[in-house]
Amino acid sequence: MSKSLQRRLRVFTVVVIMIILLLTARLAWLQIYQYDYYVAKAESNRLRDIPILATRGEIKDRNGQVLATNRPGYTVSLLGLDRQKAADVIRYLSEILEIEEQEIRDKIAKQQFKSYAPIQIATDVSPEIVAQLEERRLELPGVIYETQPVREYPQQSVAAHILGYVGVIRENQYQELKHEGYRFTDIIGQSGLEATFEKYLRGQDGTLRVETNRFGNRVRELERTNPIPGNTLHLTLDLRLQVIAENALDQVIAALKEEGNEQVGKGAVVALDPNTGGILAMVSYPAFNPNTFYQDYNEIRDNPDKPEINKAIQGTYPVGSTFKLVGALAALEEGIITEKSRVVCGGVKTFFGSDRRRCYNYTAHGALNVVGALQKSCNIFFYEMGYHLGGERLSKYAKDFGFGSLVGLTDIRGEVPGLINGPETRSDFMPGDVLSAAIGQGHAITPLQLANYGAMLANGGIHYRPHLVKKITSYTGEVILEQEPEILKKLDYEQKHWEIARKGMEAVTELGGTGSSLRTLPVKVAGKTGSAEAGANKISHSLFVGYAPAEAPEIALAIVVENGGLGGDAAVPVAKMIFEAYYGEEAAESNAEM
């Protein structure tokens, strides 16, 4: 054994010892000195938060009747999909769920970047399908089903336009809302109260912190933060009145169809509390079922009667003779007439030298004061008023009642301002056009505006903000928001003029009035009928505005039946059915209590 060999071996031993010492130092650095740093790093590498969906808040009517709630539904998701088996799993899922394979692939592609969270394939799957999936479990590795809250509207299509519907967040909504913690699989309110009160109804999702392996497969569950359910909306809406109004409109329209009216099929009813502006009922006909809005979407879209449009706030109509109270109050306020002033109606009269106007069917009403003119809906009287007022003054009073501008409903979106037929809004308004305007033709007025007008007539000129939500409470019952009645405007007309107008409206429902069929109701109704020209070869729109009980108004009501005929043909029967059912049932109830 040579000396050099021994020496060189020793060199090696020293080199090895040094390397081992360096490695030991490195390990000590990593495991002792940097321990905390690496623990934190490794945790974030491994821990993931999976959302637990919060239950959406309920929507209840003024008496606590549930209008929107949630039920458990099955959501089918993929968790930890085995790449090799993916093709088979997707094929089986496509067969069972009846979804295109490509759609499933798209969903996976869109969601897989966070593979620790389940990839949602189908929501609200029926128990039968879940049973099928369960049977074929061995062929479907990675397929899981969880119960998640599904929105349900137990009253089906009742108040559909008010409640709205929910749906999967759309791309543009997601871009806008993602910073508020929305995920692109979230269900959000898409219309109606569901949309406007989204942030109250939504609740706060909980999280489940899970430990995952590299592929995101759940290894175990760690801590859980429970979701906070959304808040409950308490509406001013009276479900009973809403149902009565929907049924009344439906029955009257069905009856008109039966009688051979081929044009009828759309309509709206709005009932307001004249003392608060609270909306008691709001019907837009036809409606849709918010439970199945997306399934029925094509049908809804293709329906010529446009069920998705809320005609109560978006439909605009020439309101016909219901407008005559404007002319009456304007003439009284302007001193053109007093209660005693009479106009002689010969059935026909010529204005501005050559404009020959007539009453309906050339009926000669004889000498009428304002109350009589309202009762008979005499056109000649109100032409006369319009003639004396002129377009500008008439428009001013129309504006006073909220026509031509938003009435202020903000609880649901979409209210339109409509238009007053007057010189301010129409550049081609000729002095003679005031005649038509005075009897309600040429305006564009929403049923909500009409109801608000009814309420202002009932309460003596107070314009309350129409609203649907009275109160919002948390799931524990704590009051989060309470909407007090808000006065937007108060008209300072002379008290006696209001009384004259009301007297006229009360006369309408008495014998000899255009709404005399309402005289037999358990309460005294005040109102005004209307028929509005709908265009050439079109049956006129049938309208009614009024309130009850006349002596102490509780409900202001506006009814529009498109192409329903004269006021008395459609709108008055609807009003009758509503008041009859509402007050009749109430009377029956209080009798039963006694």
């Binding site: 490195r26 390990l27 990593l30 495991q31 002792i32 321990y35 690496y38 623990v39």
Partner: protein
């Protein structure tokens, strides 16, 4: 027995070497199981790697027992045959049907599920060849063309074949081991520098010829620059070792083996040890390896002849280089090269040949001048 060897004093085999080997082997079996059961559970056989490791360990122990009782100088006569066979097998990995391709590399031969890496055998064969060649009396090591060159040339051929598989890690271990043997055999320092100088352009070429090698080299400098690709392995390894702390998270409780760590039961098993057994565990393993090398070099120093010395040097150098490189990679101290940890990693034929080599070491330890 030849006349010369009759004078040798025979003693017991080196106990410390045997003890370290058996302890590391036992740690290996336990850690292979711990590191692999989670992943294998998903493939419906959590005990797969445990069974395989026990089988190869048992086979290796038989080999070790055999070689520790087979007088080492008798190996000389088999050297050339052994070298030839391992070369043929090494080439055979490229023949479709015999060679097995895994992850794009052709390093294995096998029938069915049984595979072996011929390069494991080739390393030992080359060490035996180098020791036998350089210990010849007629060879003058100072003469570069007579001494080092033939050995380096044969090594070079093997190096290139292994590189072609491609298996840079094993090729580097092979070259390094043979360089150690040649150096210890007495190669002149000038020659060492000369060879090293020639190796520089080769290394540069290797780095540039395969883009991934350069990326790995660069990502080693800053693994977080590219955490999902090349830096991934280092990061995941550090995420295992760091949180292990002083005492570890406990045997079987490691989390990084849950698909985060690549090859947790083979190349990155030291990271699992670091996580589950902490600094206590990693330093203990390092101490056991250190004792093993120390005994190895001691055996080389006290071997009765130059052949025994060089053989012991080569075997110890081979195991040592592989160990230090593996731990270097796992601790993020050197760039990633696929190399397993001797005696501990689940390694099949690698474990078998490592145990056979230690058997040879044990046999050399029985003889002293």
């Amino acid at each position: 027995m030849t006349g010369k060897n009759r004078n040798l004093r025979k003693k017991e085999a080196d106990f410390i070497l045997l003890f370290c080997t058996m302890t590391l082997l036992a740690i290996g079996v336990v850690m292979v199981f711990s590191a692999s059961y989670y992943v294998m559970q998903d493939r419906s056989d959590p005990y797969f790697h445990l069974r395989r490791q026990v089988m190869w360990a048992a086979l290796g122990l038989v080999g070790m027992l055999f070689f520790s009782n087979y007088s080492y100088w008798k190996l000389k006569r088999w050297t050339n045959l052994f070298l030839l066979v391992s070369f043929l097998l090494l080439v055979a990995v490229f023949i479709p049907g015999i060679g097995v391709e895994i992850y794009g590399a052709k390093r294995w031969i096998g029938i069915g599920s049984l595979t072996a890496q011929p390069s494991d055998m080739a390393k030992l064969a080359l060490v035996m060849f180098a020791a036998a060649y350089l210990s010849q009396k007629k060879i003058r090591i100072e003469n570069f063309f007579q001494g080092p060159l033939p050995v380096l040339a044969v090594m070079g051929i093997f190096f290139l074949v292994i590189l072609k598989q491609p298996d840079l890690g094993t090729a580097v271990v092979l070259a390094g081991t043979i360089m150690i043997v040649v150096f210890v055999a007495g190669m002149k320092i000038q020659h060492v520098f000369g060879v090293a100088l020639c190796a520089v352009p080769l290394m540069v070429y290797l780095m540039l010829s395969e883009p991934y090698r350069l990326r790995r080299l660069l990502s080693f400098r800053d693994p977080w620059a590219d955490p999902l690709d090349t830096g991934y392995q280092i990061i995941q390894s550090l995420y295992a070792i760091g949180p292990g702390g002083l005492f570890g998270v406990g045997l079987g409780h490691g989390r990084q083996k849950m698909y985060y760590l690549p090859e947790p039961h083979s190349d990155f098993i030291f990271a699992v040890i670091g996580e589950e057994l902490g600094f206590i565990g990693t330093s203990s393993v390092l101490i056991l390896f250190f004792l093993l090398f120390w005994r190895g070099f001691k055996i080389a120093l006290s071997a009765p002849d130059a052949y025994g010395s060089l053989l012991a040097t080569g075997i110890t150098g081979m195991i040592g280089l592989q160990t230090l490189m593996n731990i270097g990679v796992v601790t993020g101290s050197i760039p990633v090269t696929g190399i397993n940890l001797p005696l501990i990693s689940s390694g099949g034929s690698s474990l078998f040949f490592t145990l056979c080599s230690i058997g040879i070491l044990l046999n050399i330890s029985k003889y002293t001048r």
